[in-house]
Amino acid sequence: MSNPDPVKVSIQHLSLAYSDGKESLRNVSLDVRSHAITVLFGPAGGGKSTLLRTINRLNDLTDVVHVSGSVRLDGEDILDPATDLISLRRRVGMVFARPVVLPMSVRQNLTYGLELAGERNPARLAELVERSLRAAALWEEVEGRLDDPAISLSGGQQQRLCLARVLALEPEVIMLDEPTSGLDPISTGKVETSLQELKHEYTLLLVPHSVQQAARTADYAAFMLEGELIEFGPGKDLFTRPQEQRTEDYIEGRFG
């Protein structure tokens, strides 16, 4: 293997607990490399979403009672209370399992985050709208409908709009939490194709909706179970020669 890409997000000994005692993380350590797709997979309740929501501090909206360890983005500990959350969330974009388009037009969905950030230049906004829609493989389908309500798009289009909305902010890391769970196979294919393109420019963290999708897309894969990281390595190794019995059992469908 050629030189591995630099580490973008370094997670060290991360533990986290919610006040209701639900899904938590136990001593998770993981290096997310840039220009690659790192896949987090495993049964529900294993801590995958929690891990994503820790990296952009979206967990701050939830009742978290305990966090320890560190999450470094380009060497900077983002768990530090002094972290500028607004700029962190612009650098680390997130696409959710259910496409949530904001109750406004297609175009406004794309410019929303930019305007919040103070971008007012119409030419710049128009350029970012087109570029992000092209990158999300949606431009041809919505070119003439930019001022329609975003809710009028199909489910697959809405999810690609959500991806485009994150891309418009020109983030460094994009996290996708089961982005294709509600989509038909064709839409899923389009999203996966986009991801393969995007990884050249961004650092991608993906929670796939199936083991098959994990195996298809992973450059690196992490198997998570009940809040612990069981196994982590390059995707082609992990899915063909898992080191851990529990990883092998899960991949082969013996539980989960």
Partner: protein, 286 residues
């Protein structure tokens, strides 16, 4: 077996009948009240009735000062209650953590809603008219009505805010929005129709109340139109009370006519609320 099935069917039909009757019984009083008042009051309503001041010991002429007074009182109430009510609702729904403090606020709101309107009137007399020296005035009356209306506005506005899907807030925050940007650009616009409905219904009640303005704003007979917020004024509900009980030999059709105008005022506001709500529902994107 067959007998049992038949009996159950009859029981069901009797049940439906009783429920239908209960539903009809709620329609009956409103139909009778509105019908009677419009039927008896319509002949009294003329251009003069709506545009002139009362004459001859209120036994002739019109009720314009009362209409204008009620209009200003309602508007004054709105100006005070909307920012405070919506502000309180945003605080409770979006910012306040569940704590002993917010529970206390909620209990206060519930109890405020249960205070009899005459008590508000006396409170307004004590605080606004006497202590703050606003005198018997539109200002004092509006403030009193605003306090009375506050719990309704807060409750409906908070409900409207909570009805906006949480996922919108999470998405906005994840796109780098601050909490205030999220509220102002996503949550509030989506809640506006619900808030407006509550505001109109609250103001409608304020417009029709007599007791809170009795000691704070209303004048027995004041044919000129109010010129400033510090003027006392005639008002429709109080005028109706006066001509129905305080003035002997009052022509009955004037009483019905005044009631019809007050009812019309309130019904128009009600209609407005219904239109706002249904149009917003048709446009809602979630």
């Amino acid at each position: 077996m067959a007998l049992n099935a038949q009996r159950r069917r009859i029981t069901q039909q009797v049940g439906f009948g009783v429920l239908l009757l209960a539903a009809l019984l709620t329609v009956l009083p409103i139909a009778l009240i509105v019908g009677l008042i419009l039927w008896r009051g319509a002949p009294a309503i003329s251009l003069e009735f709506l545009t002139a001041a009362p004459r001859d010991g209120m036994k002739a002429g019109g009720i314009l000062p009362a209409i204008v007074g009620t209009f200003w009182l309602t508007l004054g109430t709105a100006v005070v209650v909307v920012p405070f009510g919506v502000g309180a609702a945003v605080y409770l729904s979006e910012y306040a953590p569940e704590s002993r403090w917010t529970r206390l606020i909620r209990i206060a709101i519930i109890n405020l809603a249960g205070v009899p309107s005459v008590v508000y009137g006396l409170f307004g007399l004590g605080l606004f008219v006497l202590f703050l020296r606003f005198g018997t005035s539109i200002l004092a009356g509006s403030l009193t009505l605003a306090i009375m209306t506050l719990p309704v506005i807060i409750s409906t506005a908070e409900e409207a805010l909570r009805a906006v899907p949480q996922s919108f807030r999470v998405v906005s925050i994840s796109l780098g929005g601050t909490q205030w940007q999220t509220i102002r650009r996503v949550v509030l616009p989506q809640a506006v129709p619900g808030i407006l409905t509550g505001v109109i219904l609250g103001l409608e009640r304020a417009a029709g109340e007599t007791a809170p303005i009795l000691f704070t704003a209303a004048a027995f007979f004041l044919p000129r139109l109010p010129g400033s917020p510090f003027d006392a004024t005639m008002a429709l509900p109080y005028h109706l009370f006066v001509i129905s009980t305080q003035v002997p030999g009052m022509p009955i059709q004037l009483q019905y006519g005044t009631a019809a105008v007050l009812l019309g005022f309130v019904l128009v506001m009600n209609l407005l609320a219904t239109v706002v709500r249904s149009r917003a529902r048709a446009r809602r994107q979630w």
